[in-house]
Amino acid sequence: MRWELADKALHSDFRRRVEELSGQNLGECYQCGKCTGGCPVLADIELSPNRVIRMIQLGLEEDVLTNESIWCCTACGTCNGRCPMGVDIVRILDTVRLLSQRSKYRPGALEVLTFYQAFLNCIRHFGRLNEIGLMGSYNINSGRLLTNMVKAPWFFMKGKISLSPHKIRRIERLERVFARIEEIEGK
């Protein structure tokens, strides 16, 4: 993989925005690679965690924000635990995911984002997650209609699916919380 370090990239404010939003100093990373050594999804991604950090340092905004690798992070935190400099790498990845949604670029792994959005929509409406509702809404929105449907009857028979969603009392307050955050984060 090759990246052209155009003048534009070198003078972009991408690195500064990531640092500001994540509260992390990217200059602390000296590319030891321990984060990548412990990353459980390494086999499935193109950009390893240390590479993502290097690319942010270099201002390669579009290449980072459009790559699907940033959506494959499980937030397990192994990288954070092993970083000799105490860099909060999960936080940096959270930040680039946020920037990827806000940016003009198309996020690289829409199915993962769709899942998270379906999850949060459910919380917004009920205050709590209804797992069967989430599965249904994810399958419809992602176009993968049969995902896990083989397992659904089993869950139903075992009484592990509650059909009536649990709704919290102060749902109006929660709606205001979501709306305020949307306004602040500019989505």
């Binding site: 397990c76 990845l93 930040t95 709590r128 869950f155 075992k158 592990k160 929660l174 955050i181």
Partner: protein
Amino acid sequence: MRYGYFPGCSLLSSAVEYDRSARAVLGAVGVELEEIDDWVCCGATAAHATSPLLSAALPAISCAAAEKQGLDVLTCCAACYSRLKSVNREVKDDPKLQKQISEIIEEPYEGNVRVLHITEVLGREIGTEAIKAAVQKPLEGLKVACYYGCLMARMPEALCVDKAEYPVLMDDLIRAVGGEPVDWPYKTECCGAALTLARQKTVIRLSGEVVQIAKANGADILAVACPLCQANLDMYQANAEKLLGEQLGVPVLYFTQLMGLAMGLPTEELCLDKVIVDPMPLLSEKGFISGGVYL
């Protein structure tokens, strides 16, 4: 002892057996639970992967409610635990964020509520001596691989539940009820977590490896303390068998189900039939369940 209980969404549905067995075990050692009033989902990975503010605001709502009730928070789910506890650190480290979150959730929250995972409550606050005293049918000869997953022990500065890469809290509890915890290297490897629907291949590979390594280290059964770990290791085990070309068949139970079994708690509270890889043949062969009939 009395705690503010934060069940979390999974414990109301797909992990109902964790909720019931945890309540039964806690009750047996004298812990009282009072549900946190009108608690809200912690937001889990979906919130912090997409919105840092939401990932702090959602847990702060429930923590503020617990503060009003004057109780420490007890939760069983590793993800809820990690989110609720992380928000305390976030608002304490950053006064600006603290103010912003308080405004967003319409009540003040300063990050002062103690958040405890059930393993901490049982292992540290109650203590293994009291647990030993409650045992009626020790799990003699049962080799248990205690699987902690990521969220209980990782990010130590925020969590400190145990050693980040080799936790022992659950092992101590299993030993206290007579089981034999195995020494194995995958205690805190990731199961694939929230990628469970969107990236199934990754999840099947990761969770399959965890079960495979547990078995290779002599485990009869896996004990877990996280609803998503349980779902991934159990639900995808058949898929993992195909991928690995290896017979696995390792039952995956919540550690509270095993503890309850040893304490002789009513079987309907333990819900041993609610997992996919059937633990009955193993448990009856070892003599913990008579006849293997369980309905």
